[in-house]
């Protein structure tokens, strides 16, 4: 932390230049070698801490049974696709689990997003009395502890015959996806400038036409973000599936936990399932990265 370089120009400079004014003005970076190295080091450690488990899972999914459980971890081995082939053939065929997961998570995300797109607009613009209570009810439904929701739903579903059905899982996932979608969409709608919608109304459009042809297309990114996050929450669920699913509705996380048996765990196979379950959600999540902050803070913080 020595000599201050007063900034003269702004904006990041071309690659390979000396530290730019923007960096100099950045209070934590005075460009001294020591602080820059420390900074890089912390980031490198953080990246390693984050990525090693994921890379190890990826690597292990290509290992044979004996190599996976070798006492000395190896980086060099003959890769095999056996674990992936095993996912769709033989005793641990994953196809029904995949179908259940896609149906349960997909349907709940579609329903939540559709209803959220309608109700979110209503919530953002309504001036009715009790609006505060309504929105608080919605957010507290989203935030209710899963265990406290599963318990009464278990009795209700038993009474309605919804245990071990896709419909039951969809409803269970809607308990958190629907309030999330309503709340988040209302945040996206509230951020839109009202001028465009107003001009559509002035042109003679009905409220519905203005909503459908002007407002909704403007929040396309909001819709996609809401859908992706709803999908991720439902796809990754384990606590609900543990109680509500049976042979005809078990989802992928259940398949993984069923590979864990008393007699031993086929870790290679498990890593392959892991890659299979995790990678699509990562891709979907990164696809909406720009709006992720808004989405995951339920609209409280806007990013970039």
């Amino acid at each position: 932390m020595t000599a201050t370089r007063p900034p003269t120009t702004f904006g990041p400079g071309p690659a390979g230049r000396r530290p730019t004014a923007l960096e100099a003005a950045n209070p934590l970076d005075r460009g001294t070698l020591r602080t820059r190295l420390a900074n890089r080091l912390v980031l490198a450690v953080g990246l390693a801490w984050t990525l090693v488990p994921l890379l190890w899972m990826l690597l292990s999914s290509f290992k044979s049974k004996t190599e996976v459980t070798a006492p000395t971890p190896s980086l060099w081995f003959t890769p095999t696709l056996d674990n992936y082939v095993g996912l769709f053939s033989g005793a641990n065929n994953l196809t029904p689990y995949l179908v259940h997961s896609v149906l349960a998570a997909g349907l709940s995300a579609v329903l939540a997003t559709a209803l959220g797109a309608l109700a979110g607009y209503g919530l953002a613009h309504t001036r009715m009395r009790g609006k505060k209570h309504l929105s608080f009810w919605i957010i507290s439904t989203r935030m209710a502890p899963i265990a406290a929701v599963v318990l009464p739903l278990f009795l209700i579903f038993r009474g309605l015959g919804l245990i071990d059905s896709i419909a039951g899982l969809v409803l269970a996932y809607l308990t958190f996806d629907l309030p999330f979608a309503i709340w988040l969409m209302s945040a996206f709608f509230a951020d839109l400038p009202p001028a465009l919608e107003e001009s559509a109304l002035v042109e003679g459009a009905t409220r519905w036409q203005a909503y459908w042809h002007v407002v909704l297309p403007l929040t396309r990114s909001g819709l996609v973000t809401t859908f992706v996050l709803c999908l991720v929450f439902a796809w990754n669920d384990y606590a609900f599936a543990l109680v509500f699913s049976g042979p005809s509705s078990q989802t992928l996380p259940m398949a993984a936990s069923q590979l864990v048996t008393q007699t031993g765990i086929d870790w290679g196979q498990l890593c392959a399932i892991g890659v299979f379950v995790v990678v699509p959600m990562m891709l979907a999540g990164l696809a909406v990265r720009r709006w992720l902050v808004t989405g995951l803070t339920l609209g409280a913080v806007t990013g970039e």
Partner: protein, 306 residues
Amino acid sequence: MTTTAPVRPAPTDTAPLRRRGLRFEGRLLTPGVLLLAPLSLLPFGFIVVMSLSRVHLLGGVRFDFAGLTNWVRVFSDPDVGMAWLRSLAYFVLTVGLEMLLGVVFALCLWRVLRGRNTALSLLLLPMFVAPVFVGLLGRFLTDSTFGLYAWVLRHLGIETDVLGSQGTAFAAVVLMDVWEWTPLITMIALAGLSSVPLAIREAAALDGTSGWQLLRYVVLPSISSVLLVALLIRSMDAIRYFDIIWVTTNGGPADATKIVPVRLYEVAFRFFDLGYAAAIGLLMLLVSIVVARAFVRLLDRRGPAR
């Protein structure tokens, strides 16, 4: 906020409000609210009734009114008391570490100009991993015979079955949660940092303030409200999830990781004491509502959006 009077308004808008039924906003709200109501209020009603009953499952579901028996048990059961204490420790450690590491990573990323987006994308990946797989991966990495992390620990001279003894098992489940959710804090803090006005940073830099002073008196205060949002969001989810513990230690060894939701699942779906579990669940709900209240208050103060 809402539109001003349109030139050719839809029929309902001309009518005095509330006389011709719902306005446009109300009509859009209806389907979602109609579906959410049974999904939210019905379970709530059930759990209240359950907490005041003995629930029989065999031979058809039957509630026998039991007064406050379950509630007396909740407040006198030492096992549940311990579970609350463990939950508190788990909560403070996970959320505390996540906030600390998340802010540190965000500050580091903020200083990097080239490759920031790539680094951030990579750092975010754990958030999308299903908690079950976080737990299973944790078991895989710490397995005492072939786990990668166990192997590293062995070479550092630490020979232990990580998930097999109480202290290390607790530390392990905490670290797994920290691994998964630190990225969320990093992302939120970075969004806050990006909105720190350049002018403030320049002015401070011109004044010749030292890096730590700047951090303490300029940077952190200007992202404090964003950090509060991060804290509340993370707190609400920390109360919700327990999948990681369920698939790694299942509350063991010797109850070392038995936090409240794990205890609830055990009471409900292993001992089938549903009335008692309902009382525990209602208490949890109460805690999450208090946090949600704080979150909404914060939003109200920050902007007119809601």
